[in-house]
């Protein structure tokens, strides 16, 4: 099995089966963030094997579970019609107090010390670690819902020759919005609220960095491929 395409297909298949060892599983999960081909390979395996789930006997869950789910998504009393399109989760996050632990999701699965403690938004309620395939974070974004501010902290970012690195916020199903150029170990605070006011679920959004012509993408939309990406994770308030 020397064909790299077969290697990738087999690894994606084992990822779906769940048989990769913990390190391999975490590494492949990180790769999925940045590699559309890997995501496609996983989706293809899910689709190939899913007919087997038809054989799983359906089991009605205990009645109490639904209440637990409602409690987990918060904001009881929200109306079904939900004319107010701000996500209840989002509103719940507004109450989040101080930042206790950071780096949920993918990063938490592969314990890796971050060289220096990042500078965080005061009262940060969301954190996104923006990483390359399986690499250490290149950039951390922390978001304070109370102020609508994001703190962006780059960690040793180096742009390719004659290029600039540009950071984008990509709301679920939305076009990327530029957050400006990033480089080196820069730290910047910027208002994110204008982009979030439409009820975006931060958990479904993405921060991404692309290589653009020096000075930034000319038309305000990304032209280069995504070098780094990361999803915001809600930080536990407790």
């Amino acid at each position: 099995m020397t064909d790299p395409h077969d290697d990738m297909a087999a690894t994606a298949g084992e990822y779906v089966l769940g048989t990769l060892d913990p390190t391999g599983r975490a590494a492949f999960a990180a790769r999925l963030l940045a590699d559309p081909a890997a995501r496609a390979a996983v989706a293809a395996w899910e689709e190939r094997l899913a007919p087997l789930l038809a054989d799983a006997p359906g089991v009605t869950p205990p009645a109490g579970l639904w209440n637990g789910i409602e409690a987990r998504i918060g904001a009881a009393g929200d109306t079904a019609s939900n004319d107010n399109r701000v996500s209840p989760v989002w509103r719940g996050a507004a109450i989040a107090a101080s930042l206790v632990a950071v780096l949920g999701g993918t990063l938490a699965m592969r314990p890796q010390p971050v060289a220096a403690p990042p500078v965080l938004a005061r009262g940060a309620s969301y954190v996104a670690a923006v990483t390359a395939k399986g690499a250490e974070p290149a950039l951390l974004v922390t978001i304070d819902r109370a102020t609508g501010h994001a703190v962006v902290r780059a960690i040793g970012l180096t742009a390719p020759a004659r290029k600039s690195l540009e950071l984008w916020y990509i709301g679920p199903g939305r076009d990327p919005r530029s957050l400006g150029l990033v480089s080196g170990d820069m730290r910047a605070e910027m208002p994110l609220a204008p982009m979030l006011a439409k009820g975006d679920r931060l958990g479904a959004a993405l921060f991404a960095i692309t290589a653009e012509p020096a000075g930034g993408a000319p038309a305000g939309a990304p032209t280069g491929e995504i070098l780094y990406s990361g999803k915001p994770m809600m930080v536990s308030a407790s």
């Binding site: 769940g18 048989t19 689709e47 190939r48 038809a54 009605t60 987990r72 479904a204």
Partner: protein
């Protein structure tokens, strides 16, 4: 989309889209339509009720958050939802693992009549292709997929090194892919 949750014949795609917009009635309808399937899937991997209950709640909380990111180009809704459930169950299983479990394959696992959400022809093609695999490779794939068996558990079960199991899984998967793409 405020009425999406009411009708039982709304496509799951539409329910997911409504959930992505924060529609709680749609979320409730999605749960009613899919929770038995996902719970059954999780229970095969986490047979102890308590763990499965927690996992199912995690899964639906996650679905609430990410429903808006469902992309029809990447598979059918039920496949996408089942993948979220399987991934969560496997993560819980791997974290909580003490020693290796002894997993066994239900001999009727492939005999059941597929439900309405799967095209019977697709199901038949998969079963047929699984039949062409080396029996050991097939069993490993099924034990892993249906019951969450790890490489280590399979190594114990078949008394082989984990490297051999990895090789069986890889060869079995690639053979399966080849067979399915031959039709």
């Amino acid at each position: 989309m405020s009425t999406a949750g009411g009708a039982a014949d709304v496509p799951l795609e539409a329910l997911l889209a409504a959930v992505g917009e924060g529609d709680r009635a749609a979320f409730s309808a999605l749960y009613a339509r899919t929770s038995a399937k996902l719970y059954g899937t999780i229970l095969r991997i986490l047979p102890e009720g308590g763990q499965a209950d927690d996992a199912l709640q995690d899964v639906y909380a996650r679905i609430w958050h990410i429903a808006g990111s469902y992309d029809a180009a990447r598979g059918r809704p039920i496949t996408w939802l089942a993948a979220i459930a399987r991934n969560r169950a496997i993560d819980v299983l791997r974290k909580g693992r003490g020693g290796a479990r002894m997993v066994t394959l239900d001999p009727d696992a492939l005999a059941a009549i597929p439900d309405e959400q799967v095209d019977p022809a697709v199901h038949a093609a998969l079963v047929q292709c699984l039949d062409t695999l080396d029996p050991l490779h097939r069993e490993c794939i099924l034990l892993a997929y249906l019951h969450g068996a790890s490489r280590e558990e399979l190594a114990v079960r078949y008394d082989r090194p984990t490297g051999t199991i990895k090789s069986w899984l890889s060869r079995g998967l690639l053979a399966l892919r080849g067979c399915l793409s031959d039709d």
